[in-house]
Every structure is written in structure tokens, then in C-alpha cells.
Amino acid sequence: MVDAAASTKGDLHLTNLVKAFGDFRAVDDLSLVIPEGSFFALLGPSGCGKTTTLRMIAGLEEPTSGKISIGNTDITYAKPYARPVNTVFQNYALFPHLSIFENVAFGLRRRGIKDVKEAVTKVLALVELGHLAERKPVQLSGGQQQRIAVARAIVNRPALLLLDEPLGALDLKLRRQMQIELKWIQTEVGLTFVHVTHDQEEAMTMADTIAVMNEGRIEQMGSPVELYESPRTVFVANFLGQSNLVKGKVEGASGSDLQVSVHGNRIVVPSARNFAKDNSDKSVLIGIRPEKISIEHPEANTLGGGVITDISFVGVSTQFQIQMPWGQELSVFEQNDGGASHLQKGDTVALSWKPEFTFALDGTADVDAGTSVNPDEI
């Protein structure tokens, strides 16, 4: 049978990939390179095309146009069973009529490998479920089934392991534990993992590189820190964590800084962190993460005259909602180190932050892009 797993290795290239369902383009001209051995996450809300992309890589959907290759091997139209790619399905899709051992051995047997015992025993030991080899899938808990689904895929040593929302069905505590375990397994076996998820925290915890997808396209790609600290679009700024976005107008530049007028206040943005395209009326959106703002310590960037409308205590921090003189509500997270404990609802405060934390985005964009999707609802 096909022993593609051994022969094909290398980076995964997606080139101008398109998948259209009638008039709807689920995946719209997507190009990216996933380096061999990396833990890559495709992150986006439901319907953004991430699962369709994954299914095209697995061979379960045929692209409308474009190319998929691993190393130098074109696999765009290869049958799913003829490509060195294995998938961990969302609901695990274990074979209910086969024992755990036979589930894990399935791929090896199909590839004509006679002596499967050693490989299967080894991978079951890796996921710490060797003692369940003779059970049937229904006799296992959700977390155990999840690990068997991973074992069943990695035992084949594929060039690429695809994970389709693999932790979606688990409760929060188990999900955290599995995140760490999956990351560990990836390091242990050294395979390329492509992980599809709508959970930004999950993506940030596990992946080396994240591609944020929206409406069939990649909004931004980079390391978790890069995406969080320097979001280049409003969608990314809102989908990954929270952002305060305030409308402003570019007044001019001085040295490596940009001077922006925000409702009468002068705000400084490093030119390198200006991701806005030039437009005629010079409008931009000034962005600042809530935890970067200080209510107590004056800094170079300050917006005054805010009134505290809501205070919620969440343990490590306290979250303030502050209504600005122009009506907009901004969020501020203060660490609970005693500094802000005297603040009360109705107090008038000034918000300050260091210029290097500020970023500037396209002023014509919709301020709410990426906020209306609640990742936990999907």
C-alpha cells in the first residue's frame, strides 16, 4: 500500500488556495507556508474558513483552485488515503467496533505493516493509556478518547498532523491539561502540527505561529506575542484579547514618532507601530490594551476626564469601565497590588500609558470587527 509518510517531508505550502461553495468563498485566495516541525494554529471565529482549509489539507475537500504541497510533492488532488497527513477529528471519530489497540493499529495495518504491536504499545504508553488497549471506545472518557485519537494519528508518523478543534468537547480543566500534553507530545515526536481552533487562549498557549483567519482570508500571521502586542487590523486587535480603539487624526511626525490628535488630546505613537494605510483625511484608530493603561501613574500619553462607570474584581486584576468625555467606554485592567483599591464608581480619572504600547490602525475600519463573535458560543 501507500507508504507516503516515509517519502514526503518538508514545509507545507498553500498557494492561492480557493474553496467556493456556489457564490460563497469559504477560503479566499489563501497562501501560507507552515515550516516543518512547527506547531501552527489557524485561529478564527466559526465560519471563517479554517476548518475548510484543514479539510483541504487532509484531502477531505477538493480545492476550487490553488495548490497544496508538502516539500516538493504536490498533494492538491491526492486522495486522503494517499497523503502523509493524519487528522485528529473534532469528535475523535474513533471506530466504535474496534478495540483501542485496533483503532490505533488501523493506519499501520492499512499500510501493510505486519508487526504493529511494538509501535502501538509505544504510542499508547506515550499517551499513558496502555492499560486500556483491549477496551472499546465507548468505555473510555472524553479525555481518554481524545488521547486515543491523537495516538491513532501520530503512530503513523505523518509529515503533518491536523487537529480540528481537538479540545472543543472537553471541560475547561481537562482542556488546560490537554493543551500542555499536546504541546509536550509535539515536542516529543517532532511532527508538524496544524491546529484549528476558535479559542484564542488555546492558540496562544500552544502554537509557535498563529494565523488569524477571517472571512476566508488571513488577517495576520505571527507569534502569539507579535499578534497580541502589535495587531495590524481591528479584527485581530479585538479577536485576540481586548483592545481600546479610539478615533484620532494624524497631526504630523516628529522624529520616529507620530503625533495624533484624539478628541483634543495629543497622543504619541511610534511610527513603526502605525499600521494604518494613508488616507485623505488622515484618520486613524489609536489602540491600547486595557492592562497597559494606568489610572494612577502619569505617562506621556494621557486622556483625561474619564468617569468610572463599573468596577469588577476578577482576582488577579480589577477591571474598570470608564466613560470618556466623548461618550465612548474604555476598559482598564489594574493589577491588584493595592494601587487602585481606593477607586470608586463615579470617580473622575485620567488614563495614562507609555507611547511604545500604542498602536495605530486603519481609521476607516469598523471599530467592532472581531468583537461580535463570542468564541465561547461556538
Binding site: V2, P80, T87, R110
Partner: protein, 298 residues
Amino acid sequence: MAFVAAISKRSSTVRGIKRPSTPYLLLIPGLSWLAMFFIFPLFTLASTSTQTAPEGADTGTYVQTFRLANYIDAFVASREQFLRSIIYALIATLLALAISYPLAYAIAFKSGKWKNLLLVLVVAPFFTSFLLRTIAWKQILGNEGPVVTVLRTLHVLGPQSGLTASAFAVVTGMTYNFLPFMTLPLYASLERIDPRTLEAASDLYANGLTTFRKVTFPLSLPGVVAGTLLTFIPAAGDYINATLLGNPKTKMIGNVIESRFFEIVDYPTAAALSFMLMAAILILVMAYVRRAGTDELV
């Protein structure tokens, strides 16, 4: 819920039992029905099967003599029809399986928005009576019918030969009549298969044929067992197809029982044959179910 709880609470206090008695109350109608129309007739049948006609009595008058040899006599007299019934039923079952499996598979996995319509069409023949359908089948296979005309044109059949009044007609008639009994359980078990397990199989290096052999078919086994039983059991005891579509050489055990009962008025032999048919089916079915190991399936 509250209503049921109230009833069970009251009845258990009346009888002084702590356990809720509702489940047992609900069993009563079914059990009494079975007792009246199944258990009691079974005993009557058993009693009839060992009776003999007294010397010089009128036709149809029998007295209990516990003559077990009735069974041997009955079997010896209709061994041939017995065997034929089993063979015909087996062939019809296998044919129905061969026709129904692809049909049920297509409805379950490939029919899309036509699924409900196709299911209605499978059941549609039941809106006509069994008898009418069998007579219609006779028309279809008749010398003026489409099948014979086509086969004669293709020179598969000679100009003088036909298809009716033959073993072929009986077996195809049974296949046709019991097809829904095969299709529906097959469909039910195929439809329950999570398409993702099939995707998983192809993801794990199984091509279409291997996926079918290793995943689809094993997962549909409960449907195969149910369908074959629902076809084989009534087919083995059927006599309408043999009556309407057969000839004297295609008589089945059902025909023998019918004629013993209504024409010859030989109640003991008819009863003994009925019992033997029941026993034969029971033994075959038990061996089959054990072989298929259905209780191990999910």
C-alpha cells in the same frame, strides 16, 4: 411526570410496596394480549398435534391420544416441501440483501434532500395488499409482460418459454414482497454511522473498498442481522407466493399446512408441521445470531 408519580405512589401505598409499580402496570395489556392470542393458541396447537381420529368418526373429529408419531409421519410426508421452504427463503433473503444493501447505502449516505421521498417509496408498496402485489408480480412476469417480452427479444428466453408458474417466479416474488423488511433495518443501521468515522478511515490510509470492508460493513452488521431475520422468518412460512406464482412442484411447507388444515381437514398433521416449522426457524435463527455475534456490536 407528576401524574405518573402520583399513580405509582398511590398504588404502592395501597399494596404496601415501596418499589414503584408503574412499569409492571404498563406490562399488563401487552402480556394479557400475548397470553390470550399467543400462549393459549400455542397450547391448543400442541394439544391438537398429538390427536388422532377415532375409528369411523366424521371428518374433522379428533381425540387426544398423545401420539407423538404424528410428527414423524408429518415430516416424512412433507420432507421435500420443508427443505424447499428453507432453500427458497434463503435464496430470497440473500437476493433481498444484495438488492437492499446498495439501496439502503445510497439512501443513507448519498440521497441528500431526496432521503425522505426515497424512504416513502420503499414503504409505498405496503399501501397495497400483499395479495394484490403478488398478483401484480404475476402480471409483470407474465407472457405478455415487459420482462418476458424483453428477454424473448434478446433471445434469452425461447418464444414458447415463460417465467410464471416456476421456482424463479416464487423466489423473485418473495424477494420483492419482503424487500422493505430488509431495506429499513439496513438503512437504520447505516444511517447511524457517523460519516466522520468513514472520513477517519480514509484519513488512515484506507481506500473506498477497504473502508467499506473494515468500517462500514462491520458497523452495519446489526442491520444485516435484523434485515435477514425479518426476511427469512416470514419467507420460510410463506404460502401466498408459492400459491400464486408457483406450480405443484414449487409447493412450500406453508402450502402443505394450508391444504392439510382447510382442504383435507387433517388438523393434527397441520399442527405438527406448524410446530416443526417453528422449531426449525428457531434453531436456524439462534445459530445465525450466535454466529454473527450481534450482542457484541454497539
